[in-house]
Amino acid sequence: MLAVEGLPPERLRNLQDERLRAVVKRAYETVETYRRKWDEAGVKVDEIRGIGDLPMLPFLEKDDFREAYPFGLFSAPLTEIVEIHASSGTTGKPTVVGYTRGDIEIWGEVMGRTFAAGGVGTNDILQNAYGYGLFTGGLGGHYGASKVGASVIPMSTGNTRRQLQILQDFGTTAICCTPSYAILLGEAGREIGMNFEELPLRVGFFGAEPWSESMRAEIERLLVLEALDIYGLSEVIGPGVAYECLAQQGLHIAEDHFFPEIINPQTLEYVPDGTHGELVFTTLTKTGLPLIRYRTRDITKLHPGDCPCGRTLRRMAKISGRTDDMLIIRGVNVFPSQIEQVLGEVEETEPHYQLVVDREHGHMDNVELWVEVSESVVSDEVRHLEVLERKIGKELESVLGLSVKIRLVEPKSITRSEGKAKRVVDRRDLGL
């Protein structure tokens, strides 16, 4: 545990106040979006003396990323940006994030804390089964493992057979991946006769998609380890924003770097601790892409009281939902608006569709897109429809980065409520 994780609250607050003043100044001076928003709101930078003044500042939204695409929100020149990642945007353009060398340091530090909170150190072999690439999971995990001196195996996602073989042969002691993949690994391993009871694997860090306490129990039973929840989003930094300790009583927020507020998404006012609301983050130390009051759209609550582990950093509950229509499927963020866009482009009309997400026990999320056929689309030949299915599937895969099974259905067969089709049917039992 780092000293900063156990700071007395008033000392932590002093640190946050000081850091906030610096980041607000930097954001105003270097990022057009903040300058415009704050000028419009009539807020002066020097009025922001500390955390208590945050409510004076306007919120930053996902759409601000789209408007500033690709690098408009960067606060440092590209000469100082050493890494760029991207995640889904609501339509068309991805949400782009940039890191300075200092930001990468911070990222490694907070991911290092995440692993250390699960007892991982130099003696550990950490199998990183988050995707390496534009997605922040892979590299975030990598930097964190490197920070604590664990031997990292950069597995990335997929190739279950090989994952299991390496896990067994290398003596992996810690693993990180999505919770649904952890279940898949456990079941597949048991099917081929692996005895997890006798393997050195002892702790896992799971996140990037919603999961429940019952999934935790399942993962712990299958893989015989402590399953810890981790939280992050690429806009803030990636994984490492909040992490569970072995007490498993909520996720400690690295609030010396990322200050959380919980608001009522309708009134935008604070909700009391222990009440659910939308999580809002202000990054206190990042220089590449400072976020001031960024609305994450994730719903959670802050746990009052102290954690037996000794960390004084406040804890948040597991994410229990979203205030927008974003879905997380196999760790990938998906907005229904992206699907509308693809269908519009493929068919030049906007047909009725429904996205059906399912998670069979022990399997990864299964996604089907049901598309109602229209007069103009129906052909007398099957192959024309097959070409259409393939075209939609391919286009969706390139936009979402997810393979989706396309299923053509009869017109009016998708249930409509108040004349509007229900766009998403999520049958996954996430226990949220």
């Binding site: 007069e375 129906v378 052909s379 007398d380 030949e381 099957v382 429809l385 009869e410 017109p411």
Partner: protein, 143 residues
Amino acid sequence: MKVSQITVFLENKQGRLADVTEALAEHDVNIRAASIADTIDYGLLRLIVSDPVRARQALMERGFTASETEVLAVEVEDHPGGLAKIIRCLADQGVNIEYLYAFVGKSGENAIVVLRSEDTDSARARLADAGMTLLSGEQVHTL
């Protein structure tokens, strides 16, 4: 008048074919020939009916998509080799057949097949050149 085929998109759900045939029966539409192309999730029901306009209306009222396609109806001598003669004639001329199915009724002594080609006009011309008998829309729909 051209020979008009109606194609109905059907999900593989119980009772859908019954719904289609009942809708046609209620509107007094007779089915002359039928075939289904099926996949795992859905099927395409192709129909030659007594009254294509009325049939489409009846189906659309019931919420089905019914598209119309021009096909050819050809008389086939009702003995071994009858169909082979027609197919060979098109194959030799490089005309592809997409699909083909048989009629319920007969035209005199001859059987009838419905066939769909990518190039209906040239298929029609080749068959006529070879002395085959093509039926008109009037003949087919009112048979």
